[in-house]
Amino acid sequence: MGFGRFVVTKAVSYFLVLMATVSILYLATYSVIQKVITSSAEALAIEYRQNLLKSTHLSLTPAQIQTLTEDYQKSYLSQFAFNQPLPVKFAVQIYRLLTLHFGQSYVLKWNGSQNVNTIIAGYLPNTILLFTTATLILIALGTAIGLLAAKSAGSGWDRVVPIIAVIHSSLPAWWLGFLLIAGLGYDLKLFPTSGITAVPTPKGWLAIDLGVADHMVLPVLSILIVGLGGFAYIVRSLVISTMGEDFVLTARARGLSESRVLFRHVLRAASPAITTQAILAITGSFGGALVTEIVFNWPGIGLLTYMAIFDNDLPVIIGIVFVLTIILLVGLFIGELVYGLLDPRIRVSGD
């Protein structure tokens, strides 16, 4: 019962966050969105007119074609409540954005399609693949290093802290990418430096997957190097502060071995707090990871953003902003659920 209620409360709260965030985004980008809608209407109308012109069997007069095209354009605009009073327009357009109606891109394509949804759907999985892989490794390694560091807490670590902090707060992952490309990629030729698969694409799923993994090494490495120290440091602090709690002393008094105390009791008790920190760290490193894609020519949302900036492709950028907001919130929501699962005080309500 406790956890079910927790999930429902959180779900409602996150849905409200989504609405609020999307509204702010909408208001901040209002003028761009209107431009995107009209241009999409025009682009689709031109396409429609050409189809009409091609369909000679209909034997339409130029005037008829003109009216039909104009009607088509108007109906597209009316789907976005373009000429309605502002409140209606806001509501309808926000609804259309939330249901992923972003229209047509100006220039960019995916498999020949200029539909923004198709384009984003083409690039997004690569971002999720790269970022999830990097994040999972980061959490696993960071937790392990943080635990070991907490176990041997002493002055040595305090000296490393400023270095970790400099790396964490100032080293751009994308710049590190450059260095890795130049060093490990070109000089030592250890790893591929660009793209996601070898050219030409190898045959067989295993070869393709291995190729993708190979291409992922350097981008994952640059995200890891930047984020790992900071996360490990946070884990270390959390573990050390947990070790100061009463239950650790009593666990030792019960005759549990040091490693059992640390790995079973302390780690498990600190895990909700670690989860919160992990969520924050991940949210913080997302932007950097997107830019890292650019450097490695990794065909994900980051690279798509870069190309869209280059081509002034507003519909694509608008689509990216809204899709990423939704994904980010889903990610945060999942994080909250994990937190709830890990902390019995939430999972099982006390009263």
């Binding site: 239950f247 008094a253 005759g255 008790a269 019995p344 005080r345």
Partner: protein, 311 residues
């Protein structure tokens, strides 16, 4: 059973060495309930942790010996001690037993874990239920998380865990602090019952002399890391000798007297102790010798000794 001899425990701090315990001796015989009393910060808890070898840096056991059933446990390696003594022979109930359970595991998980690591032969789940019944708790509590229990329930559950592998010796550090009066009485009765039924030796550590007077056979009064007075409960409570003990007893609220007398002043800084008797600055009977030379424990009755220049 337990014999602590001239034990000194020091903590190093930025202000210098803090002498939490300085040459303290204490004995507990089989089946005996012994009390250790004093103000907060006098070193009582340090003593209980030292007996379980739970002193961690910056603290260290500087000198002395702890004999358990005749063996000096300080001479064992950490692993040997952990495997043969902790919980098997020396179990503890803590002042913070409410926080003594790891918050993320159920009570049952934690009791069963203790059974498992101490190689309990039988069915751990059945044993857990038995233990919970022994401390007058509903066995279904095993499936609960610590935060779902009341303070008294947690304390009982912790005692159940302490009894898991039938230890001959139990240290109860402030077992009733932070519990309401009714629960306090029931916990005390539980401890009495354990001694009676299981013949366990118990060392009770508390600042609450009223509690001690009800349950212990003998009592030790600790002040600023040194023993001030030792004696049977009868001797100590009927006729306390040390001015500090007198002060402590006078400060017990009773139904008869409406006036509660405290002891003026504070305990000295353990990192910066005055010479002579450590209680002298607060003592109404302080003489010249008290600020110069430290008094040693002197026998004044059959079992009663006191460290005071008055005797």
């Amino acid at each position: 059973m337990l014999s602590v001899r001239d034990l000194s425990v020091y903590f190093s701090s930025s202000r210098g060495e803090v002498k939490a315990l300085d040459g303290v001796s204490l004995d507990v015989s089989e089946g005996e309930i012994v009390g250790l009393a004093g103000e907060s910060g006098c070193g009582k808890t340090t003593l209980s942790l030292a007996v379980s070898r739970l002193i961690y840096p910056p603290g260290r056991i500087a000198s002395g010996s702890i004999l358990f059933e005749g063996n000096d446990v300080l001479k064992l390696t950490a692993t040997q001690f952990r495997e043969t003594y902790r919980w098997k022979k020396i179990a503890m109930i803590f002042q913070g037993s409410m926080n003594g359970f790891t918050p993320v595991f159920t009570i049952g998980d934690q009791i069963e874990e203790v059974l498992e690591i101490h190689r309990y032969g039988g069915d751990p789940a059945a044993r857990t239920r038995e233990l919970l019944r022994m401390v007058e708790l509903d066995p279904s509590i095993a499936e609960r998380f610590p935060h779902e229990l009341s303070g008294g329930q947690k304390q009982r559950a912790f005692i159940a865990m302490a009894l898991a592998v039938d230890p001959p010796f139990l240290i109860a550090d402030e077992p009733t602090t932070a519990l309401d009066v009714v629960t306090q009485v029931s916990i005390i009765n539980l401890l009495k019952k354990l001694r009676k039924e299981k013949h366990i030796s118990i060392l009770i550590i508390t600042h609450d002399l009223a509690l001690l007077s009800e349950i212990v056979d003998r009592a030790y009064i600790l002040y600023a890391g040194r023993m001030a007075e030792v004696g049977t409960a009868e001797e100590i409570f009927r006729d306390p000798k040390h001015p500090y003990t007198k002060g402590l007893i006078a400060s017990i609220p009773t139904l008869k007297s409406t006036k509660i007398e405290g002891i003026a002043g504070f305990m000295p800084d353990l990192a910066n102790l005055p010479p002579g008797c450590k209680f002298a600055p607060r003592c109404p009977y302080a003489m010249e010798v008290c600020t110069k030379e430290e008094p040693q424990l002197k026998g004044v009755r059959e079992a009663q000794s006191v460290a005071c220049w008055l005797y």
